[in-house]
Amino acid sequence: MSAQDFGGFQAQPLDLQNQKNQRLFRILFLLMTVILILPVVIILMLLVSKGAPALSWAFFTENPVNGMTEGGIFPALVGTLWIVAVALIASVPLGVAAAIYLSEYASDNALTRAINLAIINLAGVPSIVHALFGVGAFVLFFGFGTSILAASLTLAVMTLPVVIVSTRESLQAVPQAFREACWSLGATRWQTIRKVVLPNSISGILTGVILEVSRTVGETAPIMFTGAAFFLPFLPQGVLDQTMAMSLHLFVVSTQVPNVPEELPFGVALVLIGMVLVLNSVSIAFRMYLRGQKKW
């Protein structure tokens, strides 16, 4: 290997070897990243190409018929909306309160550490264990039966960490000087939070809520035994009714029902993943827009 001239310095063979290694590893890691991401693209293309033929106006507005081998997904769509709405009503206030406590009140002590550990664990406990909890607590102990309420509360507990973590982040992004300015005018802590901290972080909180909706839409195991029904061609009339749901419907038509035409489950999968990815993209785009808008 010949020594090269780098602006007056003699590059030693060892340096050149290192340069080569550097390029090699850079390409290797890039390749690994691409291999990790490529499946998403391929999967999306497959779902679109195989699921698109099933989509039609009737697919969205009709009941499943003929042992779920024909017809649409209307009750499952409506059911998912119910479940998500009730779950949000339960988890958003609680999650935002928790985030306000952690960001604005909590000092770095044992209790705060315990709370943080609990949040990590809530997010880490297997979804089927959340399902068992939902059965034990909401279906049996509180006597809600298998209902939208029980399913939504189970999901609310499960997705609580999503709201807490994203809200805490957006609260902490509000500069400390804003709070100090407000305190120095004689405002209480709560006045400061309500008039200064929350208005300056509300859009960040919203992106977290969108993210939570997307998680809630896709979860299956926690609602299987707490409120979602395999087949129920009626719309729920209240929170104590059972309902169909998109995620469970995908499981049912792809594993439990015989003689389903191939494009039907692909259509259901396409609608489900479409909902999730659109919600996520909105959340991400909103976050980036906010970052661009920030004046501090």
Binding site: V40, I128, V129, R189
Partner: protein, 311 residues
């Protein structure tokens, strides 16, 4: 309350009780309840799962049989058998295979995104990883069932495609985003000064990464892997749909297995409340809860240790 100091009435702010003060107290109490709710929920989860399954696990379940017998026949008459070895082996093999695939790729991706990529490329890659994490597990299961299954049968000329290989690959893709994100956080937490010092001595980017950044971020990287293991271990729908769901002590990646989580999901709906079968499923739930709790605790300790050492 106020007191007169040299002719000036001075209000002591601390002692003033008015509407704002009362609202402040109420708000403080309410957000505190929100704050500790996470702890209450974790305790409640354990209590409610244990309430249905702990008694059975302690007094009626033979621990030796449970952990050593592969015979899972919860409905056989007259004597049901509750051996979970095959289920544990199923979960372990699928999670192990997933980690084999996901760990190198996730760490590689984290290094590329965190240390090599810049500007727009970096943003785009991060968004794509986030979207990968967003795909619901039932959709992954569906992909295993309808796309991977025929693919594996064709490629390897095997009779069944719903195997450790199938579920492991899918689980690997599912666990990869969380590992990539946490690992990248760990890399980012290494102070810029460390890199600059090494670069000032003429090190290339790769030398900096290998000899400075990686050793310094070691704890965080191990935590990332642990959280990935936890994710794979607890995954339910995808494993249920893609692993073949047959009770089996696996000997090759082309065997079908059944996982702990999938067993609960598949059988809970068919059991009578309070029956032995019902209770043993909750006992499995306790096992799952405890294992993930330990994994998360370890990861948290590691992350904390990594931060503490540097500060």
């Amino acid at each position: 309350m106020s007191d007169k100091v040299g002719g000036v009435v001075r209000h002591s702010v601390e002692d003033k009780i008015d509407a704002a003060w009362i609202w402040d107290r109420i708000a403080r109490a309410l957000v505190f309840v929100g704050g500790i709710s996470a702890i209450l929920f974790i305790i409640a989860i354990f209590i409610f799962v244990a309430q249905q399954g702990l008694g059975f696990a302690l007094f009626e379940l033979d621990a030796a049989t449970f952990f050593t017998s592969p015979a899972w026949r919860p409905t056989s008459e007259p004597e049901p058998q509750f051996g979970a070895l095959a289920l544990i082996a199923g979960t372990a093999s699928v999670t192990g295979f997933a980690m084999l695939v996901a760990v190198p790729f996730s760490l590689g991706a984290a290094i590329y995104i965190g240390e090599f990529a810049t500007g727009r490329t970096r943003e785009v890659l991060k968004v794509l990883v986030e979207l990968l994490a967003a795909i619901p597990s039932v959709v992954w299961g569906f992909i295993g069932l309808t796309i991977m299954n025929p693919l594996i049968i064709d490629l390897f000329d095997v009779p069944v495609g719903l195997t450790i290989l199938n579920a492991g690959l899918i689980l690997g893709l599912m666990a990869a985003p969380i590992m990539t994100t946490i690992a990248e956080d760990a890399l980012k937490a290494v102070p810029e000064g460390y890199r600059e010092a090494a670069e000032a001595m003429g090190a290339t980017r790769w030398q900096v990464i290998r000899q400075v950044v990686l050793p310094s971020a070691k704890n965080g990287l191990v935590a990332a892997i642990l959280l990935g293991v936890g994710r794979g271990f607890g995954e339910t729908m995808a494993v249920l749909m893609a692993s073949g769901h047959s009770v089996n002590l696996p000997t090759s990646p082309f065997d079908s297995v059944r996982a702990l989580t999938a067993t609960i999901a598949a059988e809970l709906g068919e059991t009578a409340r309070g029956s032995e079968h019902y209770q043993v499923l909750f006992s499995l739930g306790i096992l799952l809860f405890l294992v993930t709790f330990v994994i998360n605790l370890l990861a948290d300790i590691l992350v904390r240790k990594g931060k503490g050492r540097r500060a």
